[in-house]
Amino acid sequence: MAERGPVASWATDFDVMDPAYIEDPFSIWDDLRETCPIAHTERRRGAWLLTTYDDVTAVAHDTTTFSSTQIMVIRPDEAPQGAGPGFLPYGIPPISADPPLHTWTRRLLLPWFSHRRVASLEPMTRALCNRLIDGFIDQGRVDAAEGYAQQIPVRVIATTLGVPDSLADTFTGWVRDVLEFADDQLKRIEGRRGILGYLTEEIARRRQDPKDDLISSLLAEEHDGAPLDDRLILGICALVLVAGIDTTWSAIGSTLWHLATHPDDTARLVAEPTLLPSAIEEFLRAYSPVTMARVVTTDTTYAGCPMAAGDKVLMNFPAANRDPKVFDRANEVVLDRAHNRHVAFGSGIHRCAGSNLARMELTVAVEAWLARIPQFRLEHGADVTWAGGQVRGPRSLPVVF
C-alpha cells in the first residue's frame, strides 16, 4: 500500500494525494515556485514535482529524457492483479507511448476529434445539456457536479465509441475507479476489468457488424501492411474512455463552482456573452484539471537536480498555468484575459487529442446552463468535495437557483 501520514515538507516529502493538497493546492504551488520549484519526494518510490511554466513545458518537450511510458501520477505499488500478464502489452497509446508508436497511433485518433467532427457533435451535446436541465430546473436546486457536469462527457464519448447511452453510469463508475480512486488497489482493478471486459466484447461485435464509429474504424486500419493487433485497439479505446470523461467533467464542474461563488463574474458573462470564448480559456487556465507524469529514462541532472533513471517527474500543468512570471494576476480569474498561453491541454507532442471536443463540451455546458439558470449560488451549508491528484475537480457541488 501507499505510504500514509501527513506531509512533513512540501519541498522534500510531497504527496499529491494528501488531503491538504486536494483541498488547496494553489497555496502549495505558490510556495514551491518561490522556494523549491522542483520539489522531491521519497514517497511512491521517488518523484519530482515541477511547478513553473518553463520547467513543465521544457520537460514535456524533451520526450527522450522524459518518457511517457509511466504517466500516472500515482505509481501503483503492485501491478494490478487479475488483469492477466500482457493484457495491454501496448499500454494505452498514444498517451502512454513515445515515438514512433506514439506518432502513428495518435494519427489514428486525431481525425475523430478534429474541429470539423466536433462541430457535428455540438447539437447533440446542446440537446443533452438542455435535457439534463429540464430534469432539475423545477426543483430549484441540483448537485451541479453529479447531476450535470458528470452526465455530459460520458454520453458524448459513448456516441464516438458507438456504445449505448444506458451504460453511461457504469462507465463513469469504472473511470472514477481507475483515476480518482487509483490509490485503492481493489477499485483500480475493478475499474480496469470493467472497461477492458466491456471493450473486448464491443470490439468482437464490431468485427461482425461494423458501424460508423471509432472502434470500427480502428478495425479497418492497417499499419505496416497488417491490421492492428486487437490488444492495441483495446488500449486506444480504453484511453479515449478514460481520458475524455473525468477530465472534461472536472473542467465543467470547476467552472460552475467558480460561477456559483463569484456572482459578479456570472452576471458579467450573462450580460456580455461575447466574453464566453476568452472566459472558457480562462477557466481552463485557472482550474486546469490534469497533471501528468513522465519517467526519467537515463540518469540526468535537470536544473541542478540529480534525477535517476526510473524517477517520476510530475508535470503540473495546473501549477504552470498559475505561474506569475507568465500570467499577470495569475491567481485571479480574468474573464477577458487577452494573453493566455495556457497549457491545460498539455504541451508538445502529447497535446490533448480531445481538446477540440473538450472545449466544445465546456462551452456548450456553460452556455446552456447560463441561458436558463443565470443566477445561482452554493446551497447554504453545502458540502463541496474535490478530487485531486491526477485530475482535479468538484465531485459534489450542491447549488440553488
Binding site: 486525431l110 480559456e281 494573453h339 498561453r341 508538445g348 507532442i349 497535446r351
Partner: protein, 64 residues
C-alpha cells in the same frame, strides 16, 4: 503585417482557429495553416496578434 506558422512547432491546440476561423485553419491531424496569403487584412491584424500571444507552442510569428 504577414504571419507564418512553424509546422514543426504547431501541435494543434487550435487556439488560433478558435480566435479567427477566417485567418486560420487546422486540418484533421492538428496542423494549422494561415488561410490568407500575404498581408493580413487590416480588420484581422488585431486578432492575428492575439493568436501569436495565445499559441501555447509559440508556433505563430510575424514576418516582415
Amino acid at each position: 503585417m504577414k504571419i507564418v506558422i512553424d509546422p514543426a512547432k504547431c501541435q494543434g491546440h487550435a487556439r488560433c482557429y478558435a480566435l479567427s476561423p477566417e485567418l486560420f485553419d487546422v486540418d484533421d491531424y492538428g496542423q494549422a495553416s494561415v488561410r490568407i496569403e500575404g498581408e493580413v487584412p487590416e480588420a484581422l491584424v488585431e486578432v492575428a496578434r492575439l493568436a501569436i500571444a495565445n499559441c501555447p507552442e509559440f508556433a505563430i510569428a510575424e514576418v516582415d
